[in-house]
Symmetry: C2
């Protein structure tokens, strides 16, 4: 590989629109976390259909989605920055007041998603179903308290 | 854990808004892939700042972001579904015509992001910089051809 100059790097970053990154602005944090949750739903929905027997269980697809979910579950917390509860969000300002509870709930989401990904590797719906259910309950618990 | 009835599961899924999942609609696919790319940018921007020396290099934070990027890089391709290039997207319809090239480019994104995550584990900017640059070039190559 050729030596990459600082100038060359800067030019490429400008070209892909990443030249002026600084601390994220509130709307960027909102868009970020909403993006993550859209990806969560994209994966969680079809998993739920398989768990419910609404669509045929495909063990490989389920495990792939569960792996994606486990990776995604680590990401949203950092997007819940101070001052990001006023506009274009259904996240409630109480998140700031009850930060420790919120962070713990998001930690549960991460832990339970990792357990689901692990269960999914076995391809046995009898092990997957309760693990999936635990994630679903974590989602609901958080939405009940912290989502409009 | 208590036995989970189908009915109990259905009730929980309804409560969290996942009861009626079917094949994704075009706008859902667009929102999904845009969400992924927002999360990509969220991580890539601060990494670029560190590579450029604009912010101080934090090896742990860099490695965490590179791990997130590697996970995210696997996700967008499935969102580029047929019939999702008309509205609310800067993805060009040529993606459908040149699908194999597009899929290969996204595969490069995944491969190069995995290599960056691996390099980042070492915490050595001299190894990280060229790996980061390869990812940046992959982004640019794809945007040049397939993004408005």
């Amino acid at each position: 590989m050729k030596t990459i100059t600082r100038l060359g790097l800067a030019a490429t970053l400008i070209a892909i629109g990443s030249s002026a990154m600084a601390a994220p602005k509130p709307f960027e944090a909102v868009e970020y976390r909403k993006g993550i949750f859209k990806a969560v739903k994209w994966n969680f929905g079809p998993m739920g259909d398989m768990v419910k027997g609404k669509t045929e269980f495909n063990a490989d697809d389920f495990a792939r989605r569960a792996g994606n979910l486990a990776a995604l579950s680590k990401m949203p917390l950092e997007g819940f920055m101070p001052g990001t509860y006023e506009r274009s969000t259904s996240a409630l300002p109480v998140i700031e007041d009850a930060w420790d509870t919120f962070a713990k709930t998001m930690g549960d989401f991460e832990t339970n998603s990792a357990a689901l990904a692990e269960a999914a590797k076995g391809g046995d719906m009898n092990a997957i179903r309760p693990a999936f259910m635990k994630v679903a309950q974590t989602c609901k618990a958080c939405h009940d308290k912290f989502k409009d």
